[in-house]
């Protein structure tokens, strides 16, 4: 039933810029006010205002398309609209008014009497099938104070009413950037408060590129695993490691719309299997038993807790993801022989040094490593130990500072709110064991 488009090749490679049935999307409602992950399955729905609309119309549309709620005989449905025009038309009108603006708010009293349309009037209009945009115009026409407001104030008013009565939905491609931002904003604790700029630095410092073998200790529900896999493009491996038997959950990987080739390269192996002294045959047989009962694959029961519902809807819990298989034996042997090309550690609740001292030795010499932590002190201790043990050089603790700006004519300034901490990174390069100078 998926809508085939002309860009699909025989091998099944679809145009990644057009949505398809079953793909994962990021729904951006009202310019970032509300952000929601969803899967475009047959029965998928979204709740907007107090209406439930099917997401079916979204299938087969280009990513970046916008939708608004329309009212039809069968009830409310989503219809595709062109790019937001408020910006453009208002913009030109605004520039003239800005120059001659002589209104101000000295006489405006905020006592809720300015608007003459009541809630019942609006409901009546909605029942009659009046569109959201028309309701907004009606509200403006019936406002006693609208004309007395400054041009900026009028624009703010219009946008506010539009968001309420004519909400827009933007369909976004889930990418490391948008996934990280959405989680950071709504569920930061799940990703250890790793901000998008810190994540971007982490990927650079770790020299993640295709054909790399990246060793990862990811306790951020798979955000880092997914971001690394995205940069590998299906070539190379991202191996998740853990102590004991059970790999950490990597549910976020599901959001990425990875191809089968990419999923195959997302694997896991326990520390004991990766260390040179381990007997590979024995350890795989032990893990085999665990795998059969599917502990290794991801089954996330936390998905149904109330706090996650807003962020993730329609993504089936209980269905195991394609990624996250056990690492194949030949890959493990290759890593033992050649070493990993980089290492990323993100373990908010564990002591960084206890992890680093086991995992850094698995890296090739001259390979970079990055350790992420929300707090500074654990990294400082880890850095000190790495220095004393002479395991690495070019050690550095960094913190990224990020500020967003509003850029509008005569109203350019940084955003009023800002994130003050996106976490810290300890980076370094592994060196060979210390040699004495040839006397």
């Amino acid at each position: 039933m998926s809508s085939k488009n002309s860009d699909e090749t025989l091998s099944g490679n679809r145009n990644p810029r057009i949505t398809w049935e079953g793909c994962s999307v990021l729904l951006d409602i009202n310019d970032g006010d509300r952000v929601l992950f969803s899967r475009l399955n047959g029965g998928a729905k979204i709740k907007i205002g107090n209406k439930n609309c099917s997401l079916q119309p979204l299938i087969g549309c280009p990513f970046g398309s916008s939708f608004q709620v329309d009212v039809g005989e069968d009830g409310p449905f989503l219809s595709r609209v062109g790019p937001a025009s408020e910006g453009n038309n208002l913009g030109e009108k605004m520039d003239c008014e800005v120059m001659e603006e002589c209104r101000d708010n000295r006489a405006l009293v905020d006592n809720n009497t300015a608007q003459t349309l009541t809630g019942e009037d609006i409901d009546e209009m909605r029942r009659k099938g009046v569109t959201g945009d028309e309701i907004v115009e009606a509200l403006i026409a019936n406002s006693a104070t609208f004309d007395k407001k400054t041009a900026f104030s009028q624009e703010k008013y219009r946008i506010k009413k539009q968001k309420k009565y004519a909400p827009r939905i933007l369909v976004r491609r889930p990418f490391a950037r948008s996934i990280c931002e959405a989680y950071f904003k709504k569920q930061g604790e799940k990703i250890g408060f790793l901000r998008v700029d810190t994540l971007s630095l982490l990927l650079s410092f770790a020299n993640v590129t295709s054909h790399s073998d990246v060793l990862v200790l990811d306790m951020l529900d798979g955000l880092i695993t997914g971001a690394v896999a995205e940069r590998l493009g299906g070539m190379g491996y991202v191996c998740n490691t853990y102590c004991g038997m059970t790999p950490y959950p990597i549910n976020i990987v599901r959001m990425f719309n990875f191809s089968n080739e990419t999923c195959k390269k997302i694997v896991h192996a326990s520390l004991s299997e990766l260390q040179p002294s381990s007997r590979s045959e024995n350890s795989t047989s032990i893990d085999q038993i665990e795998d059969d009962s599917d502990i290794g694959k991801v089954q996330n029961k936390e998905m149904s807790s109330p706090s996650t519902i807003d962020l993730v809807s329609n993504i089936e819990s209980g269905k195991s993801i394609k990624a996250g298989d056990k690492a194949p034996l030949d890959a493990i042997n290759s890593w033992k022989e050649n070493g990993f090309s980089s290492l990323i550690i993100a373990a908010p609740d564990l002591d960084a040094w206890s992890i680093a001292k086991e995992l850094v030795p698995l890296l090739s010499y001259s390979a970079p490593f990055v350790i992420y932590h929300q707090y500074l002190q654990p990294l400082a201790t880890c850095m000190h130990n790495l220095q004393t043990e002479k395991m690495a050089i070019s050690l550095q603790i960094s913190e990224s500072w990020l500020r967003e700006y509003q850029v509008l004519p005569s109203r350019t300034h940084p955003h009023m709110q800002m994130s003050s901490s996106g976490g810290y990174l300890l980076t370094g390069i592994r060196i060979t064991a210390s040699e004495k100078s040839p006397a």
Partner: protein
């Protein structure tokens, strides 16, 4: 530089060979790129180093000089390259570079356009992000700088991924052959608004553009120009803070002896001499001087046509 060629990939088994590019690490702030040759010699404050001693060693090893001083031989990466390349122009550093690569949504296979090339600092990281199947088309209006950039990409093994063109993008726009081919466009120009209409034509639907400008007036003009073709316009500043870490000694107040301990302590601090008088802990604080500003990064997505 990139592990596209399996024989050159970093590994315990990989040995430094004649002709390899090596990053010589003297101190955390003193590094230089060197091409290894049989007869080559390096002279620095630590003494004289023969390249022939390096051949056969692993990357990440120490190398000793005739005097007994040592350096480290590191494998090149785009990060190290940014720190050692020759500056023909002001360059972008890792904080801006990383953010740009992430926000432009670059993955292997993408096609990205860049202008101006400058010293190729960002270009190197763009190439890493799109390798091995993608491509970077970079343009600079300065013929000599374009040539130097081409040489650098030869040295770092990126020539198959990067095409350097000599072109005035502000005046002429991007070439027609690239219409609709780009996944992303990056502009670092004095008047980027002149290049924005052309950039819009080069981009695929929902493609991402980034413009880097040091001055807010440039940003304002660019945003005005972007409104016609783009949506989701966002402007950021990103900076990197580093921390210094050392062992610290904080004696308990009760054990101190008023002014006499204090004066002794002052002298110790001046001589950087920390004896164990209190508890040894690892302490960290921000480094004293840090960059205040590099430029504003403005990102935008191409509007979706109906």
């Amino acid at each position: 530089m990139l592990p596209i060629d399996p024989t050159k990939k970093l590994s315990f088994n990989r040995r430094i060979a004649d002709g390899d590019l090596v990053i010589v690490y003297e101190r955390y702030d003193t590094m230089k790129p060197i091409k290894v040759s049989e007869k080559g010699v390096l002279q620095n404050r630590f003494g004289m180093f023969k390249h022939s001693d390096w051949i056969g060693k692993q990357f990440g090893s120490k190398a000793f000089s005739s005097k007994g001083g040592f350096i480290y031989l590191l494998a090149p990466t785009p990060e190290l390259w940014t720190l050692v390349l020759s500056h023909r122009t002001q360059i972008l550093y890792i904080a801006d570079i990383s953010f740009v690569v992430m926000y432009l949504e670059l993955v292997p296979g993408c096609v990205v356009l860049e202008s101006g090339t400058g010293s190729g600092s960002l270009t190197t990281s763009l190439a890493r992000a799109v390798a091995p199947t993608g491509h970077v088309h970079t343009f600079d209006f300065h013929e000599q700088r374009a040539a130097s950039a081409r040489e650098d990409f030869e040295r770092t093994g990126l020539s198959s991924l990067v095409t350097v063109g000599v072109r005035d993008i502000q005046g002429e726009g991007f070439p027609d052959q690239l219409l609709g081919q780009a996944d992303s466009v990056f502009l670092d120009l004095p008047q980027p608004w002149l290049a924005i209409p052309s950039a819009a034509k080069m981009l695929q639907q929902d493609g991402v553009l980034c413009s880097f400008s040091p001055c807010i007036e440039q940003v304002q003009k660019s945003c005005e120009a972007l409104k016609l073709y783009f949506t989701d316009i966002r402007t950021f500043e990103v900076l990197l803070q580093t921390y210094e870490v050392r062992e610290g000694n904080f004696g308990s107040w009760q054990d101190s002896d008023g002014a006499s301990s204090f004066l002794k302590g002052c002298k110790k601090r001046q001589r950087n001499n920390l004896e164990a008088s209190g508890t040894q802990t690892v302490i960290a604080r921000r480094n004293g001087e840090t960059r205040g500003h590099t430029g504003y990064l403005t990102f935008a997505r191409l509007n979706c046509s109906m």
